[in-house]
Symmetry: C2
């Protein structure tokens, strides 16, 4: 398998720990030779979005995904509708940014609820209602199944197969090219059905994003102690090979939440290490 060069890769700005304004992140990511960026709403909302979009374009960067959805499930119908509405606005900003997708992390159990089936049903309803809007705007909705450790608080959709089933359920009988999935190695590496499900995602033309980082042993904090590629136990090249075999031709995106390690380092060092590790360990 060919070593990845940074032009084939994107940087999710969370990897830089939100140390600097989005403008500086754009410039640093472009200067490091990357082909794309995945910005977060916290960096974009309330700013002049067309100006940010222009800066990204002028830097020659694609926008792989816009991060991320407002969690959908809510204890009330009104809450669900408000969450959908918030995601509509995110889709609009994603369109202005030229993002290929809105990264859809569907949310976990509503406060006080133990009804995971109900949460999944709300999530599917919400995504279904957003799909037309995304389609009109030219922004894919990319369902990202999260590791099961996040089920309660972040995503009731955990298995890749579950995300694919949800896509199928939402689209009904006509394939919907504006609905896809993200494959993030951190979330799926452990799944005994991973090879089967990546192949299925390819056949169903769903793979909209491929995210890399690593699972550290030990992990100090399941939220913010993700590893740089090569520092953990995930066989990333094997997963990359499966994703490519399944037909994915998009950018490989680095997304590392690392509050106590990488986020404390200078942005240039983080990016330089990403470039090295994308070549050596992905």
């Amino acid at each position: 398998m060919m070593a990845l060069n940074s032009g084939q890769c994107a940087v999710n700005t969370a990897t830089l720990g939100f140390q600097c304004p989005i403008e500086q992140s754009i410039d640093a990511i472009a200067a490091a030779g990357f082909g794309g960026i995945a910005p977060w709403r916290r960096e974009v909302e309330g700013q002049d979005v067309p100006v940010i979009a222009k800066r990204i374009r002028d830097a020659g960067l694609k926008v792989t995904g816009y991060c991320r959805s407002t969690y959908l499930p809510s204890p009330t119908r009104g809450g669900l509708l408000a969450n959908i509405e918030s995601n509509r606005r995110a889709l609009e900003d994603a369109a202005i940014l030229g993002a290929q997708s809105l990264v859809m992390v569907v949310g976990g159990l509503p406060a006080g609820s133990k009804d995971i089936a109900g949460a999944r049903s709300q999530a599917a309803d919400g995504v279904a209602q957003l799909l037309e809007h995304g389609k009109r705007l030219g922004v894919k909705i990319a369902l990202e199944p999260l590791h099961p450790v996040y089920t309660a608080e972040r995503s009731c959709v955990t298995l890749l197969s579950e995300a694919l089933d949800m896509c199928h359920h939402i689209e009904g009988s006509v394939p919907e090219p504006w609905l896809g999935v993200c494959v993030d190695v951190y979330h799926v590496w452990w799944d005994p059905n991973l090879a089967r499900d990546i192949a299925r995602a390819g056949r169903e033309k769903r793979i909209t994003g491929f995210h890399v980082c690593d699972w550290l042993v030990p992990t100090q904090d399941v939220l913010n102690d993700r590893g740089m590629m090569g520092d953990g136990v995930i066989d990333i090249p094997s997963i990359r090979a499966q994703v490519e075999k399944a037909g994915y031709k998009g950018l490989t995106e680095v997304e590392i939440f690392s509050a106590q390690n990488w986020w404390m380092k200078p942005v240039d060092e983080i990016l330089r290490t990403c470039v090295e590790r994308l070549a050596s360990s992905v």
Copy 2:
């Protein structure tokens, strides 16, 4: 659904935080009216096992499971064989204790390895080699799939379906009643295929243990911050109903790892709370 009384339940001694010697735990668990106990090897090995066994019997307690296996996968063939041998000795102690099963947590990735398929293969080989010994001793091997957050370090077997597939693979064409699975709500509650797989486990007559505790939100530590039943987000009554519908008639076992909360409380208070919550929240 009928409220559980403590006679229908067992206490895994880890729930008591190993605050007292096994003899005192036996007496306290029996005094609280429980029907069974699940002791740990750390409490038993190096002791006079027949004496412990007699004390458990005299207290009128069943031994649901003996906790737990030595992790199987190893970087070396010799290491795997040593791990299997260690489990043989554990099966022998389990037999002396009159345990219904040895709880088999298969282990994660060997040190330095990223080969999860290899780890799974070693685990299956190891279990296969232990099965005859268990059978001869009258001790079931109860595969316990763990939550995927433990894949790297504790169990490369995560999904209930995966454990069932492994049983099937090991037994070959003749059903093997000495090979089963434990269903622990903490490990499986998030699985979108849980209902399907519990029903399958029932049809295949595999359910050898049913463990309860709760998933706290937030969880401070995925290893040792499990919750008392009712304090978290797992719909335990729903899972219990599925397990009973699948034909399970054994004891419901409380297993709570809670270093900063329950383990700091007096044993009698822990047991009293277990009795209450088994009646109200399971």
